[in-house]
């Protein structure tokens, strides 16, 4: 049974990890997030595979984020091989990514995080105590899945998105259906914002570390990283700037930026940095405890953006297009996309037969490990004297503010 103590597992997050409290006598003096998820070694699995197989395999890194992994991998491959995609393909891919954003945020807000605020164990108790709120969340979540299924062919691991285009372009009727559903969902989303903003606080105000986001704002795409310390890093230099290294206590690599500063990525970072400035005033506390509010605001941004994208697509007129041709087989390329939890980078190198020789994937939860460590230290400092169980509960709630996705982080 020795290893089963690892069942002291962080719950209501994707993947396997734990928050370990370090004690000096009775006092809790430090806390650490251990990501002991089994590594699947994706960056090694991808080596030796042909370029058109990369996105199909890479999206299996994570289910909640499978659409955004697929799209980031597609764009990384296309960058490497000089493949340019049509406007229609770009719009449809973005629509699928917005669908993923909606699904992931709704899942986190209404199934994974809300129990913390209401002092219950999970969705079963939510169904008993706030059934209409859970239903509302599930309706929004379902819409995110419908978008991913119509564009990607399936809610998880979308197969319809290919290098250079789509296997089958959705028809106008399907997009009109989504548009109607999105319009209907705006009432639920507005009600969600009102509800989430009025929940009682469960954590103290803890300062944020500097933040980092992909440049494109509501589109979730972009060609550089922007930071709250004023730097701007083009996609090609992102991997070096993120500077991942291996540390003993976690199976996920840890980003080191300029050697010392941890950065935060995710909804709060985006709202402070790259999203329309009209929402910044809602986050003047500049504290990680507001991450849930940031997610629900982003839900609204994603719903609106998805409606906009459908409008562009329908106005342009949907048409079947052949897949774009491969420019050259050999090359290197990278792509940045905002995943629900923050900056995602996929970067690949191919040889003269189009076979992958190197893959590098940097995920938001891996990046956030540094920020989580800082937050945990700050929390422990504010809770000096509190008992083990109380600190443990707060520490887990704090980690959940980052909505960690541990399969992504370790991959």
């Amino acid at each position: 049974m020795s290893n089963l103590r690892k069942l002291d597992m962080l719950t209501r997050v994707e993947g396997h990890g734990s928050v370990e409290l370090i004690r000096d006598g009775e006092r809790v003096v430090d806390a650490r997030l251990n990501l002991f998820e089994s590594p699947r070694l994706f960056e090694a699995l991808l080596v030796g595979r042909r370029f058109d197989e990369i996105p199909d395999i890479a999206c299996r890194i994570c289910s909640i984020c499978s659409t955004v992994h697929k799209v980031a991998a597609l764009q990384g491959v296309e960058q490497a091989l000089g493949i340019s995609i049509s406007r229609q393909t770009g719009l449809l891919r973005e629509l699928a990514v917005q669908g993923g954003q909606i699904e992931s945020h709704a899942l986190h807000i209404f199934c994974l995080a809300l129990p913390d605020y209401l002092g219950v164990s999970g969705f079963q108790e939510l169904a008993a105590s706030v059934p209409e709120k859970l239903q509302m969340g599930l309706r929004i979540k379902k819409l995110g899945n419908q978008i991913q299924a119509i564009v990607g062919g399936r809610a998880i691991h979308p197969f319809n998105l290919l290098v250079g285009g789509l296997a089958r372009v959705p028809d106008t009727g399907q997009l009109r259906f989504l548009s109607e559903e999105l319009a209907a969902a705006s009432t639920d989303v507005a009600a969600s914002i009102a509800y989430i903003f009025n929940l009682n606080e469960i954590l103290p105000t803890l300062a944020l570390v500097p933040s980092c986001a992909v440049s494109g704002g509501p589109s979730l795409f972009g060609d550089c990283l922007v930071t709250s310390v004023g730097t701007s890093i083009p996609v090609k230099q992102s991997a070096r700037w993120l500077n991942e290294r291996i540390e003993g206590h976690t199976h996920a690599k840890v980003s080191h930026f300029d050697e010392t500063t941890p950065f935060m990525v995710g909804p709060l970072a985006r709202l402070l940095l790259s999203m329309p400035a009209e929402h910044v005033h809602r986050f003047t506390d500049r504290s990680i405890k507001s991450a849930l509010k940031a997610r629900v605001v982003e839900l609204q941004l994603a719903v609106r953006r998805a409606q906009e994208l459908i409008e562009y697509l329908v106005t342009d007129g949907l048409k079947n297009e052949p897949l774009s041709a491969v420019g050259h087989v050999q090359g290197e390329g990278a792509a940045l996309v905002e995943a629900p939890r923050g900056v995602l980078l996929h970067s690949y190198r191919f040889n003269d037969r189009g076979i992958c020789r190197a893959a590098n994937i940097v995920t938001p939860t891996a990046i956030n490990q540094g920020a989580i460590a800082v937050s945990l230290k700050a929390l422990i400092a504010t809770m000096d004297g509190a008992g083990y169980a109380q600190v443990k509960r707060s520490a887990e709630m704090l980690v959940r503010c980052y909505d960690p996705c541990i399969s992504c982080a370790v991959h």
């Binding site: 209501r12 089994s38 030796g48």
Partner: protein
């Protein structure tokens, strides 16, 4: 009526099979009336195994020692143990380089640092414990997952399919991607049950549901050779979800 007690666990995987359950947004209320999701760390706190379970539904393959212990523990406590998804049933995408030097692969990712040195070639659940039933797919079809749960309420396990993706593809009157469009479609070798989801959108079957019983690999490879397909590419595709093909 007593609610059935479930343990839902993930091993080495992407959580997609468990998410497929949470993606049953319309059916969740009815499911909650029939089942107690007692151990379900992805969605419920705390993660504590306690007492016995009517069924353990397990996603993912085995690739670390602590997962073997967890699986034994789940098996011991459960009347039925169900492998959910292709990783649990066959090894899945994580196993695609099984048989190669795993330590070398580990070093490709972690260098000389001793992180996760305990990792081993991914194995399906059946290599360690008795598996009562499997629902395959990457991800599994929601419909099959719901059928499994509905069956459990009657004390029954799902009837396993024995036909390939092609059977359902023909029934949907799709153009044959393999013979009529010259695409590398794995439909003839892959277990059906997905209503030919991918070929129906003109995307090749990538074999995500694992092998169909009595798959005629030899004939498939001969057909590919006849149409001048690169054998390396065919084999690579074949091994994406299961490294165990006997050629």
């Amino acid at each position: 009526m007593r609610k059935l007690r479930l343990a839902i666990a993930g091993l080495t995987a992407c959580s997609g099979c468990q998410l497929s359950l949470l993606n049953c947004e319309d059916e969740l209320p009815a499911l909650m009336a029939q089942f107690e999701f007692h151990f379900f760390p992805l969605a419920c706190s705390p993660a504590v195994l306690e007492g016995e379970y009517d069924a353990a539904i397990v996603e993912g393959c085995l690739s670390m020692p602590h997962e073997k212990e967890l699986l034994h523990e789940l098996r011991k406590r459960s009347r039925y143990l169900i492998a959910l998804g292709t990783c649990a049933a066959w090894g899945g995408v994580t196993a695609l380089r099984n048989g190669e030097d795993r330590e070398l692969m580990r070093q490709q990712v972690y260098g000389q640092s001793p992180v996760a040195v305990e990792t081993f070639d991914p194995l399906p659940l059946g290599s360690l414990v008795l598996v009562d039933a499997a629902v395959t797919g990457c991800p599994p079809e929601k419909e099959e997952l719901l059928k499994l749960l509905a069956g459990l309420t009657q004390g029954a396990l799902p009837v396993e399919n024995d036909y390939p993706v092609c059977t359902e593809c023909r029934m949907r009157e799709n153009l044959c991607l393999l013979t009529e469009r010259d695409m590398l479609c794995l439909g003839p070798l892959t277990l059906g049950g997905c209503h030919a989801r991918c070929p129906t959108l003109s995307a090749s079957c990538e074999g995500c549901r694992g092998p169909v019983p009595e798959a005629n690999v030899k004939e498939y490879l001969a057909l590919c050779a006849k149409t001048g397909r690169d054998e390396e590419a065919v084999l690579g595709r074949l091994h994406r979800f299961w490294p165990g093909w006997v050629l």
